[in-house]
């Protein structure tokens, strides 16, 4: 068995909180997340889809855009992956692009019906699809995906940052959105064929400074801390949601990034 599929179910949990800057001005969180599991065949592990989105701070309806994007992503990426059952490799890239085009089409139809400009709903989108055979990743904008696979000499899990989409500018707060011109040029896809993956973390760029070191390598201490409560089957991840949200709102994390923050965690149980 290849991909992310050494068997077993995935436990997922996500949380989005408004950033320090939005909190100071009473602006709601413009991030969103969603996850879904799609059944494949009898006795087979389901396809798991994880999605996070970061609505553009400069756009009036970007919160709705982010929510719409993650909902459409879990639907289209999940359905295509569950129905097509493609093998690892080029076919996965094709599937990811196809699902992305479906998301964009439906996104634009939905926002057109509001009568507002599509740009008013501008949002990034980062999606992970976990099948029994592979892990697929598609990203537009500056979201992060980190997977855990393998262990070091002390038995601690090793974290790996999946390649990120090309930066849109030298400034960290400027990125590409679903509604950007030539968005297709900025889409990043990857297919990971590693049966050892046992945890996946998605985040919006509000957690870049916590999840990564300044050298763009995963910050294992932070990642291990936030995955900890997910590891024990006896614990319900919802139980620590308030504490996790409080951590994401804490001065310690606000000091290094004032943006909205989303953390979507998945561990194999």
């Amino acid at each position: 068995m290849g991909g992310a599929g050494k068997g077993g179910a995935w436990r997922t949990h996500g949380v989005s909180v408004e950033g320090y800057r939005h909190r100071r001005t009473g602006t709601p969180c413009q991030d969103a997340w969603d996850s879904a599991q799609w059944r494949t065949g009898e006795g087979e592990d389901p396809v798991v889809v994880l999605a996070v989105a970061d609505g553009a701070g400069s756009r009036p309806r970007s919160q709705e855009g982010a929510q719409l994007a993650v909902r459409l992503a879990t639907e289209h990426f999940g359905r295509e992956a569950a129905e097509l059952r493609v093998p690892a490799g080029d076919a996965v890239h094709g599937l990811l692009h196809s699902a992305f085009q479906s998301v964009c089409r439906e996104f634009l139809v939905a926002v057109e019906q509001t009568g507002a400009r599509a740009q008013d709903f501008a949002t990034t989108l980062t999606v992970v699809v976990i099948t029994p055979d592979w892990l697929g990743h598609l990203s537009v904008g500056d979201g992060l995906v980190i997977v855990r696979a393998g262990t070091d000499a002390d038995g601690a899990g090793l974290f790996h940052l999946l390649p990120q989409a090309e930066a849109a500018s030298e400034y960290s707060n400027e990125t590409v959105f679903l509604t950007s011109r030539d968005v297709g040029r900025w889409v990043r896809t990857d297919c990971v064929d590693d049966p050892g993956i046992d945890a996946v973390v998605l985040s919006t760029d509000g957690l870049t400074q916590a999840a990564l070191t300044r050298f763009q390598t995963p910050n294992a201490s932070f990642l291990a801390a936030v995955l900890g409560p997910m590891e024990s089957p006896a614990k319900d991840p919802d139980d620590d949601e308030a504490e996790l949200a409080e951590l994401l709102r804490s001065d310690r994390l606000s000091a290094v990034n004032a943006d909205d923050k989303t953390l979507l965690r998945a561990v194999r149980v």
């Binding site: 400069s58 050298f215 910050n219 936030v226 996790l244 310690r252 290094v256």
Partner: protein
């Protein structure tokens, strides 16, 4: 420069041993201030008071205090001086004038001498470019820098006579701003003449203002508001709105 961010007080996660150095996204901010003789007396006193008050407000903002990096350049006396916090940097000192806002202490300025505005703006551009290079080397992300030029006069040479040398940096500034290398704010205060204001308009076609009195406190608050807008990822229209409000809605007592 690399002080630890504030502690976390979250019951469940407080015990978790995760490391976090200050890898905040940085926002270099240069205050390019006229302290020539015409600023003597109440104007420079008002400037010093406003700098102290603004510093307190910056320290109170959890995020700006770790993100904004302040450098002060003055043009007065007989020279252009870069300060690293309260300390003037002497020529040959190989130190960055940028100080993280949470560690920033403003200099106490005195007013005297000539108005070497052109040289001050050139130095501001130079230190911004150098800081970006340093930040990239350190692996730190950054926002678009802000340069705030404040003057009540005309550019002069070292003998205090008006000079047209400022014209040499107009095309340079135009190209730098077109390339979005920084946002330049050019503010005329006190009794700045129309001729003086024309220089500021040429330097900063979008963000220039001619203000009565010496509203330094509001000016520095506008700088903070613009920095906060950067953190929110606002579009250019938000910066224009903040600047418009600053330019037009100052309290009446300042008029």
């Amino acid at each position: 420069m690399m002080n630890e961010p504030p502690p976390t007080a979250v019951p469940q996660y407080a015990d978790f041993d995760f490391e976090l150095d200050n890898n905040a996204q940085r926002l270099p901010l240069v205050l390019c201030l006229d302290n020539s003789r015409s600023m003597e007396g109440r104007p420079v006193q008002a400037l010093n008071e406003a700098l102290r008050e603004w510093t307190r407000e910056l320290h109170d903002d959890v995020s700006l205090s770790y993100s904004v990096e302040v450098a002060v350049i003055t043009f007065g006396d007989q020279s252009v001086t870069a300060y690293r916090g309260a300390e003037p940097l002497h020529p040959g000192m190989n130190l960055s004038p940028f100080v993280p806002a949470h560690a920033f202490t403003p200099p106490t300025l005195a007013a005297n001498g000539v108005t070497l505005m052109t040289e001050a703006v050139e130095l501001a551009m130079h230190i911004v470019a150098a800081r970006k290079t340093e930040l990239r080397k350190l692996g730190l992300q950054y926002y678009r820098p802000q340069i705030c030029l404040v003057t009540d006069g005309l550019p002069t040479d070292g003998t205090g006579h008006y000079t047209t040398t400022w014209q040499r940096i107009v095309p340079v500034l135009a190209e730098e701003q077109r390339a979005r290398r920084f946002r330049l704010y050019a503010i005329g205060v006190g009794g700045i003449t129309d001729r003086g204001q024309a220089v500021l308009r040429a330097f900063a076609p979008t963000y220039n203002a001619q203000l009565q009195g010496f509203p330094f406190r509001e000016l520095l608050q506008m700088m903070s508001a613009s920095a906060a807008a950067e953190q929110k990822g606002e579009g250019e229209e938000a910066f224009e709105k903040i600047f418009h409000q600053f330019r037009t809605q100052r309290p009446a007592w300042e008029a």
